[in-house]
Symmetry: D2
Subunit: 356 residues, 4 copies
């Protein structure tokens, strides 16, 4: 495809995930960032005047963009949404109605029946829901969502094990500070501490995973028939969610088969090449003390899930440790990957954008 | 009983747990610290010259004790052992043979058939093993052990649930830096990180818990018939191990019954009062985001296990979060509590010590 | 004096410093906490329903106090103010006008000419300003302030050196997260980081110190004639501000004389005994790597300043490291100590309180 | 120059700085890593089998190198030394005698009269010392050193100010954990703490800086006539040393002139282009709360010193905050930059290496 064929915008461009979106769109081969929007507080400033949270300085290419008000219809067709749930509730439907393709990281619409909750390497067929969405909604655009950060990593692991029929799954998470956005968790609460509660997180992991692994049919997605139990905790880590997972299977593999299934996994249809897709979505680390967030979260540019310590579980069948970069594979990178799938599947309009 | 009726000593007095023993023996109503021993490196110095790891200064009462070589027979009858496993292998049998009552925190002898692995509120009856120990070993003294730190907290929770017949248990730990002793984990490895591997820890949790909850008979302890699966990780916390636990029961209770069993638990025989025993070994915290190591590890002077977030588990029956102070309830305080039980059960010699 | 002779209240009782005030008033021999006030958000709740930031649970004795609206005249005579600067501007004058003795930790009025900026061991004579305050203000009450946290520690060190005529002082601070209150600094900003800027802090250190060490005369306080330069930074520490100090003297002492002056210092008038005053306000630690916030901030119940590493400075005369507990000696404890001085100096009304 | 014209080796290749050297030699345009040596412990293993400390995995290009014993004469001519001081004492002279050009990060020989203590942008003329070294030592090779990490950053700042004649300098450092190597500081000692002592560090900063800024003559280097006072502390940061600096000048500039001198500084001779040299060795950040180690240490690939908060100092003339990446600009990158200068100055032999 031609270089930077589509102009894109970001709703909620000034938060933690919005900034990761900007950073990852720098030099993107297909998408050109042309529009950023945020709440009133930032209005009228340029993007370069926003406090940049991610180290170094605001990327040069985005520095002069004016931060716009989020007005549907006056923005590129393809929009990434890094809005929080409340703002997403206010804006995303309106933008979809006005013809925008909203690729959202917000939790707001993830569980709606006709909204794809998409991981390209796991359930690319769920994009078929868009037909129902078009049919049933008074929208000229669309909404596609990516899962909650912790969910992405678990879903990738379980998808790789699908042939062994995972039916009972326990996961305990060690989640990084960046997952709470900015300002997020006060340092007084997190320094030298574990906070064993993240509002709504366990429910998201348990519910979203089953939709992602579910079967997409005419009437929407039938959730995968498995029991999932999550315990979520915040730890004093900057980036990278670690997950201690135990899995019971209806067709338990050998340990070697399990490792082999993890290593080789991808469900991306043959012939589809997405710029942000890692060579292998799951990297298996053989060292006995890996993965670790500080050492491994950035592998494959933050887009891989690392797994290690695969071993028998005395209660279920196997246990292992998984790790993913929460604001990349778990948020900004996940959204961009979804948009790339939309692009190759023909959901983005060709031709010059008409919005400006 | 009279004040400080027994003189006591410490093997391995200069490490993290040894120092906690010293701190907790300050002003102890029954035990008077009279002897400290450590490796050659510290020999000849006074205890006040040892680098004190725990904040403030070496307690005044211990400052002038000379650090001795560990020579069996030339020490008080009652000895606390905070030796590492290798040193325990070298010294503990010899001291027991020479007539010492060795109350050990080391892992070395915990799983031997005639060695009590003791938590006074859980299995005080296991003290009966000492008869077999006396009969079968050429010892005039004895060895009693306390469990691994993470094990204590899990075992207390499971003991409280015993009437519901817990049969399948998964536990994921968030363990503090102090659990590795000093120097322990390099700061480079732990700052802003999770290390999902602690050598031997998971095996200890899985095996020791079943012995503690097991049935004590003539031929030793028959392990409790349950399946336990542990995942252990180190997190950047100073003190306090957090555990995310899921439990399946053969006779599942209601949530209210479970909470009630946790709150009211103690298996300490009626009439026995131990100075270091907390009023309630398990404290239930109703807040939705507790327990947290920095806020709760020191409750009940570090001797309680805090539990919170008791709720249904979609895979097993219930899940909850537990927390204990790893170097107190999980080590030094556990050993002192065991010695107190030995005292009230008549295992310590009356009369003036004859060693000095 | 009789037990708990005066009833006291707290303005701003629910923040970090307000909670430290509550904790330190538990069991206070002279003051009985009878009233707590906070912003509208907390109104109508009991103090036990407030999220408790300091570990463990809300102290039992304060649990049932109702959180009141701050209405002047309907509160005890003696009020501790842990208000932020903006709220202090709104409330403190009104309370003083209505007859309350406001012992404030806020920065708002510290530099006003007739307001004592008080450290009992340093400038107890500055209490004389209250006469001018009474004369010049239409108040039946009074306002007394304690310094900024970092200032207290520096001022105590310089006061101890007064006879050597310190004239040039450089200080670099390593300040704890708790100094920013709660929520304060986001964990994303502080984990594994140094933030070399704290708004207004350097100016406070430079200006307040000179007032505290200044000469109290008829027309107010003439600032001490010295040059002070501060660089303030936030570090990932929970409690305890560390200060690297270099001092040039007009009458330079020997190192031994300097240490001796630090060790023996107190300017508290003979015969005055304040319950919260540490035996020695400055503790000298001879170890080469002390003081350290985690190990030393709690010495003398958090009320001492620890100094160490006293040595020659190649540019000025001497350098040293000082440390104080920022929310105790630097805030809540400082205020209570000031109130104790007011009590022994007869500024608190005898007899039953008339407010309720 | 041709690609990778010189083969190079590393003494002490398995420690923190050794690994940074390996990482930064990957793809180096002039140097090809051909040899790694370490202590006996690692002997016989390949470099890929060494525990890799820096995140991700051992770079592919170095994976199959065998870890050699450090035997002089059986290694490339150009050797980087990341040995600790004791090992450097044992090995560096022998390697220089045998004909190797030892570019050392160790402190051992830095202060010897005929050994250049080199920062290419500051004192490239000090390379002239090598003539004296060749004349006075029975060596066919040479030793060139780079400064202590904290020294590099201070020396760059002072060199930029040279025309204003800095004569009195105070610096307080906030040093990262990686500066202590691995295992370095135990996490128990550093988590949530400040350790205000680093053995020998203050002396190094005070002494080395004066040699670097000194005048190179026939008889060696005459130290710069200035007074420097350092206070060094370790903080819970991974990478990046922060320095709070105050400077007094004999010819004080305006603030604008000072900033301008910092921004534009480089003393690298015109026409000399070194691959590892940053475009500007000093980056001035105008934000009021920068530089910060986590956000700024990696600017210019870790090779720049960032400065900010330039402002008047009430005691000396100006104060500012500086920051550098301690294991890159302060160690591995500094050594490579020195070797690049040696290369362009003709100190490295042409032709095929003769060592293997």
């Amino acid at each position: 495809m031609a270089t930077q064929r589509w102009e894109v915008g970001i709703l909620g461009a000034t938060g933690m995930v919005g900034q990761q979106l900007v950073r990852r769109l720098e030099g993107h081969p297909w998408f050109r960032l042309a529009w950023v929007a945020a709440s009133e507080r930032s209005e009228g400033r340029t993007y370069g005047e926003i406090p940049w949270l991610l180290g170094g300085s605001v990327p040069e290419f985005a520095r002069d963009l004016r931060v716009e008000r989020p007005i549907a219809g006056r923005a590129p067709q393809l929009l990434f949404s890094a809005l929080d749930a409340e703002a997403a509730t206010r804006y995303e439907h309106a933008f979809a109605a006005a013809g925008h393709i909203v690729v959202s990281n917000a939790r707001t619409h993830r569980l709606e029946g006709d909204v794809p909750l998409l991981i390209p390497e796991v359930n690319p067929d769920h994009l078929a829901l868009l037909a129902a969405q078009r049919a049933g909604r008074p929208w000229r655009g669309a909404i596609v969502t990516n899962p909650n950060c912790s969910t992405v990593f678990l879903a990738l692991v379980l998808a790789a094990c699908r042939r062994f029929a995972p039916s009972r799954v326990l996961v305990t998470t060690f989640q990084a500070a960046s997952g709470a956005g900015h300002p997020g968790v006060p340092s007084w609460d997190l320094l030298g501490n574990v906070v064993p509660f993240i509002d709504g997180e366990e429910e998201k992991i348990e519910t979203e995973t089953k939709k992602i692994l579910g079967t997409c049919g005419d009437g929407g997605v039938a959730p995968a028939p498995m029991a999932i139990s999550a315990q979520a905790a915040r730890v004093p880590v900057l980036e990278g969610h670690t997950e201690a997972i135990s899995m019971g299977f209806d067709a338990p593999p050998s340990e070697a088969d399990l490792v082999s299934a993890l290593r080789g996994f991808s469900n991306l249809p043959a012939g589809i090449v997405l710029p942000s897709a890692p060579k292998a979505p799951i990297i298996h680390l053989p060292e006995r003390d890996r993965p670790q967030p500080r050492l491994d979260a950035n592998r494959a540019d933050g887009m891989a899930v690392c797994v290690g310590r695969v071993r028998a579980c005395p209660v279920l069948d196997f246990k292992l440790v998984a790790l993913g970069h929460n604001t990349i594979r778990g948020a900004a990178g996940a959204a961009i990957l979804n948009a790339e799938l939309l692009a190759v599947r023909g959901w983005l309009s060709e031709g010059a954008p008409s919005w400006s």
